[in-house]
Amino acid sequence: MSRNRRLKLQIFRVAVFLVLGAFFLVPIGAMFEFSTRGVTEQAPRTLNAWLTIAQTPDLVAAIFASLALAVLTSLGMLLLLVPTMIWVRLRLPHLSRVIEFLCLLPLTIPAIVLVAGLAPIYLWMNLNISDSILTLAFVYLILVLPYAYRALYTGLAAIDVKTLAEAARSLGANWGTVMLRVIVPNMSVAILNACLLSVAVVLGEFTIANLLNYVNLQVAIALLGRANATVSIAVAVASLLFAFILLVILSFFGRPRARVHPEDPGLPFPGLAGGGLR
């Protein structure tokens, strides 16, 4: 590459990084700034807003509800997806296309549309089973399906499931042992990925909780925002940091070594195309 071209390229790159870097970092910095403001313009910076978080019972309840939902959704996702995917891979390969389609369908159906159809179902559920906020876990599992499926699929594709299963069976293991003690430990990274992605999605979900009249973390932040902007922004920053840390952990453990299969539509990250986060 000629020197002239290389110089132009470098200038272009620096300019792009500076401009866009500023665009992305300024709002985040502004959030920090806002949440540490004193009472008047001249008052010193204070962490008062952050400390008030623990003293707002509604907020604390919402935080715990969201954390509980995140755990429930992850567990449910693992219970539902892992055995199914292993079994389909081993015994029902003709169903794998169907499963893939169903798992990627939530990306095409906007959360706002889904909730329009869920309202009667949840009405029935509230009257007949339970009206706890934890029933949201049923829907959240659907929302995390695309990301969990991808993560688990890449994990399964990287190991030779057939050989492992046959070897274990020939040594006398039953299917439970095969799945739990042979295959699952070999896809522990993929399972961790799937869980972290699920937690990130659940903590950021707003649409479905709001329209079904539950108060989860994001709904609580939104409600509080109308009353007390500083505290709500402090909580928003905290939840953002938490999700950021989770995803950074993911990026260290996460990049699977196996090649992603060619038809992958390139949608690896939560919140895409309508899943309740935006």
Binding site: F17, P27, I109, P110, G172, A200, F206, P268
Partner: protein
């Protein structure tokens, strides 16, 4: 003859039984709500009818959809252009460098940063009492002299680009990585310059990926609800807010039939866009993956 244990014995239950829980679950919580929406769109208080679609023929409904299309298209195009530039700046760097990994992770985080937290971030930045607003006022400029545009369509476009650009980077970067340096060398050995390279080689190859990314951004913005809901407290200027307000109106104007009809229109539009996106994605992968 004795049957061998374990492997030789026929299963008493068919093998697909093991996959049944999954299908049952997805059927109840994904397919059933979708069916309820599709079905509910064609039902009103008198039974099967198309009256829901007829009542969509009102000024405010049409405006909401037009606004949604304008918002999605604008934020998609802006996000696509700047996202492509950023992706190009990243792709031309060291592929294993720290910087590349940092930007990729940041884009991964920012693409999922939306909804309430994003809205509040922008309120904290250029809201009424925002950081930048106050700073500009100290310099003598009042950006809200003609009304607070952050809480209107223009503001939404600005806020949406915040997650559209990283999404474009995530989708476009793999395509850029697929460009081989040999193609540039071949162009130059045949006497072509930068213009020839982009016009005849890289441009046509990257075009499906670029337009596919734009479509994806469009679908993304069109389906978005949380960010707008957090910024706009009253009114339904875009389709998703309209659906939400017809679903759970505080003033008693809720009408699930109309909500279903609106939702059906939205899901059809998004589905069309996603199908086009998949077609373009296949074309991209022919050369660039």
């Amino acid at each position: 003859m004795r049957r061998p244990l374990g492997g030789g014995r026929r299963l008493a239950t068919p093998q697909w039984i093991a996959a049944a829980p999954f299908f049952l679950y997805v059927g109840i919580f994904l397919l059933l709500p979708t069916a309820i929406v599709v079905g509910g769109a064609f039902v009103d208080s008198n039974g099967l009818s198309l009256s829901n679609f007829a009542s969509m023929n009102q000024r405010f409904v049409i405006n909401a959809f037009i606004n949604s299309v304008v918002l999605s298209a604008t934020s998609a195009i802006i996000g696509a252009v700047f996202g492509a530039l950023l992706a190009y700046a990243v792709a031309t760097g060291n592929p294993n460098g720290v910087f590349r990994r940092l930007v990729s992770s940041a884009c991964g985080v920012l693409a999922q940063f939306g909804g309430v937290t994003l809205a509040f971030a922008f309120i904290a930045t250029i809201g009424g009492a925002g950081f930048i607003t106050l700073w500009l006022q100290q310099q003598g400029m009042n950006i809200y002299a003609n009304g607070v545009w952050l809480y209107q369509l223009r503001g939404l476009v600005l806020v949406y680009t915040y997650f559209q650009i990283p999404l474009m980077v995530l989708v476009f970067l793999p395509a850029l990585d697929g460009i081989r340096p040999q193609w540039r060398e071949a162009t130059e050995s045949l006497g072509g310059g930068t213009w020839h390279y982009w016009r005849y080689i890289a441009g046509p190859l990257l075009a499906p990926a670029f337009f596919g990314g734009t479509l994806l951004l469009f679908a993304n913005a069109f389906s978005a609800y949380a960010t707008a809901a957090a910024l706009i407290n009253q009114g339904s200027i875009i389709a998703s807010l309209l659906i939400a307000n017809t679903l759970t109106s505080e003033v008693g104007l809720a009408n699930p039939g109309i909500a279903s009809a609106l939702a059906l229109v939205m899901v059809v539009l998004v589905a069309i866009v996603m199908v086009l996106y998949t077609v373009l994605q296949r074309r991209t992968s022919r050369w660039l993956q």
